[in-house]
Every structure is written in structure tokens, then in C-alpha cells.
């Protein structure tokens, strides 16, 4: 049966190719990931001056903004619920930047162990909700903003 042979040929090819890609991807794991969370940064002991991306949630009540010589200096803490990293960033923050929300920052650690960001991007979570729904949930005290975001940022 030629048809059967072609079918098996196709299925084995796909399986072999899939396996090869899987191996390549798992080998490249470290470069495909976009960012490191604070726990990994503490564990890996990244050297000052080395560029990388930091990702996590902006800790609640951690944002401080000062205007120095016409430039906006932002200081905040990024957390993954386990470890925290202090961040400074000079410039405008994206619209979606909020405390309790996900953020991805590019930059490097300085000698004092503070992450100096050259770029800050806001991460949006997968929840889309009408304003009214959130308001009523808040009224009933059932809305925890970072409930889902936390599990996502933590699991990586």
C-alpha cells in the first residue's frame, strides 16, 4: 500500500522534526526567555553592568517620582512575591504602568544593587473587564488585582 507508506512516512517525519525542534528549544531556553524575575537575579548573582531584562510586579506603594533638572526620575520596587529588586528609571513610564501590575525593564545592576533601567515596558495581563464590573467587585471587596498576575509572573 503506497498510501499507507506515505502516511507513515509523513507521521514519522513530523515526529522526528518535532523532537529535533523540542531539543533545540530546550537548549535555547535561556535566550528565548524575555526576562528574569527577582528570585532568579538573586540566585544567579548577576554582575553589575551586565545588561539583562528584569520582570515582575511593581510592588504596591513603592513608586516614588521626583523631578530633577526637568527629567522625571522614577523609583519603584519589582517583586515576584519572593524576592524584590529596587529599580530607578529616568523617563516617561508607559500608560499601563501601575502598582500591582506586571512590568518588564531593560538595564543593568549598579554597584549598590539597584537596577538602573534604560527602558520600562508595561505588561498587560490576560484579563479584560468592564469598568463597572471591577467597581462592583471592589465594592464587595472581592477584587484582587494581582491575583492572576502574580501566578503568571511567579511561574516561569
Amino acid at each position: 500500500m503506497r498510501k499507507k507508506r506515505r502516511l507513515y512516512l509523513m507521521l514519522t517525519s513530523i515526529a522526528v522534526l518535532g523532537l529535533a525542534v523540542l531539543l533545540v528549544l530546550s537548549a535555547l531556553e535561556d535566550s528565548i526567555r524575555l526576562f528574569y524575575d527577582p528570585t532568579e537575579i538573586v540566585e544567579k548573582g548577576i554582575k553589575p553592568g551586565q545588561d539583562f531584562r528584569l520582570g515582575g510586579l511593581v510592588a504596591t506603594d513603592s513608586l516614588e517620582r521626583h523631578e530633577i533638572k526637568g527629567a522625571m526620575v522614577n523609583k519603584f520596587t519589582v517583586t515576584d512575591g519572593n524576592e524584590t529588586v529596587d529599580v530607578t528609571y529616568v523617563g516617561l513610564l508607559p500608560d499601563l504602568f501601575r502598582e500591582g501590575q506586571g512590568v518588564v525593564a531593560e538595564g543593568s545592576m549598579n554597584s549598590a544593587g539597584v537596577f538602573v533601567a534604560t527602558e520600562v515596558l508595561a505588561k498587560h495581563d490576560e484579563n479584560y473587564m468592564p469598568k463597572e464590573v471591577i467597581d462592583s467587585l471592589k465594592k464587595r471587596g472581592e477584587w484582587q488585582r494581582d491575583k492572576s498576575a502574580k501566578t503568571k509572573a511567579g511561574a516561569s
Binding site: 506515505r6 531556553e29 528565548i32 524575555l34 505588561k123 484579563n127 469598568k131
Partner: protein, 241 residues
């Protein structure tokens, strides 16, 4: 199945169904756009900007759906040598590429105001860009190889190789950490989108889907006609059409 693989029969049947499918497409778009632009409320964080999702998500979905359809059609064409399956796979190529481009462009326009950047090389965005190039490669195979049977065979192999990438796109946001958010719709614990927003999104996806079928049927018809013209010319003059 062999009955439907007959091009003449396909022409007859598709001519019968096409007006209906096109009509449903228009209806779904009208309803979907009303829901997307009017009925769906503003998002609690993004305001109205999130509405670009009603184009972005269906386009990205169709990009992957189209590729899946190419893969299935190619496999049928490769294994059982159905002439219509090859034509269907070929017809989908440029349409899928267009949807991929639309998803990339709308995503980029959405990313700037929300994330703060048009583009980032995260796993989801990169794998989607790769899909676009795979589509281009697939189209190129059909364009460059003159002999139909050979082109169909090589195109089928390209389609199968690229299939791995579609799986990567789907799970990219789960396997690696990315800037792109995880799935809101196709997830185990149900959608994370509120009432009318979800209705709008589902309607738009249905509309895109029907639009896709309309275009594909048209394109298969024109490919069949083109082959017929070509073979008639060959019979008449012996030259290539």
C-alpha cells in the same frame, strides 16, 4: 470523499453555497462590528484602546487556522493525491500570510500605547513573525516550481515543517516568559474576558472565519479555472499558458 475531490463537482457545489456563505459573512461582520465598537464596554484599564483586540485576535487566530488548514490539505494531497486538496492548500497561502501581517501590524499598533513599544523579540512575537516568513516561503514554492505535481509535493513538505511553529506560537506564552500576555480565550479554566466583550470577540472571530471560507472558495475556483484554461491552451496550440 473522492466524489468531492472532483473539480467539476466542486465548482457546481461551491457556486451553490458561495452566496450563502458570503451573506453570512456580511451579517456576522455587521453584528460583530456593532458589538465591538458600540455594545462592548470600555476595559477597566485600557479604556477603548483594547478594541483593537477585535481585529488583532481574529486575525492572529485566522493566521494559525489558515496554516492548520494548509497542513491538513497538504497531508491529504500528499498521501491520497487528491488534486483538489493541493489546490485548497495553495489557495490558502496568500490569505493566511495576509492575516498574519494584519495580526503583526495591529499588535504593533496596540503594543506602542499599552506596553510602550512597537516590537519586542519575545517568543510570541518572534514565532508569529516566523509564521509570516513560512507563509512567504510556502507561496514562493508554488510560484517558482512550474510542474504542478512537483510543486504540490514540495509545498506539502514545507507546510509540514512549518506546522511545528504553529504549535510553538500557541504555547510560547506558557513555555517562556514573554511580554505578550497569556491566552484569554482558549484556556483550560475558561475565558478571562467579560460578557459583552467576549460576545464581540466571538462574533468577530466567526465573521473572520466565514470571510476566510468565502475568499478560499473563490480562490480555489479561480485556480481550477486557471488550470482548465492552461490545459485548453496546451491542447490548442501546444504552448504554455
Amino acid at each position: 470523499m473522492h466524489k468531492f475531490a472532483n473539480p467539476a463537482r466542486f465548482m457546481r457545489l461551491s457556486n451553490m453555497f458561495l452566496p450563502w456563505i458570503a451573506g453570512i459573512t456580511v451579517l456576522l461582520f455587521a453584528l460583530g462590528l456593532y458589538y465591538a465598537l458600540v455594545a462592548a464596554p470600555e476595559d477597566y484599564q485600557m479604556g477603548s484602546t483594547y478594541r483593537i483586540m477585535f481585529v488583532h485576535v481574529p486575525a492572529a487566530y485566522m493566521a494559525q487556522f489558515g496554516y492548520g488548514a494548509i497542513a491538513v490539505a497538504s497531508a491529504v494531497g500528499f498521501i491520497w493525491k487528491h488534486p483538489l486538496a493541493d489546490q485548497a492548500a495553495r489557495a490558502i497561502g496568500p490569505v493566511g500570510a495576509a492575516f498574519t501581517a494584519l495580526a503583526l501590524i495591529t499588535g504593533s499598533l496596540w503594543g506602542k500605547p499599552m506596553w510602550g513599544t512597537y516590537w519586542i523579540w519575545d517568543a510570541r512575537l518572534t514565532s508569529m513573525l516566523i509564521l509570516f516568513f513560512v507563509y512567504l516561503g510556502y507561496i514562493a514554492v508554488w510560484q517558482t516550481i512550474e510542474d504542478h505535481a512537483r510543486a504540490a509535493k514540495i509545498a506539502a513538505i514545507v507546510a509540514m515543517v512549518g506546522l511545528v511553529n504553529v504549535i510553538i506560537i500557541k504555547f510560547s506564552v506558557d513555555w517562556w516568559n514573554t511580554l505578550h500576555q497569556p491566552a484569554s480565550l482558549m484556556r483550560m479554566d475558561g475565558p478571562t474576558i467579560g460578557g459583552d466583550m467576549l460576545a464581540a470577540l466571538l462574533l468577530m472571530i466567526a465573521a473572520f472565519n466565514m470571510f476566510f471560507f468565502t475568499i478560499i472558495i473563490w480562490r480555489i475556483q479561480s485556480l481550477i479555472l486557471r488550470r482548465r484554461i492552461r490545459s485548453l491552451r496546451m491542447q490548442l496550440g501546444g504552448g504554455r499558458g
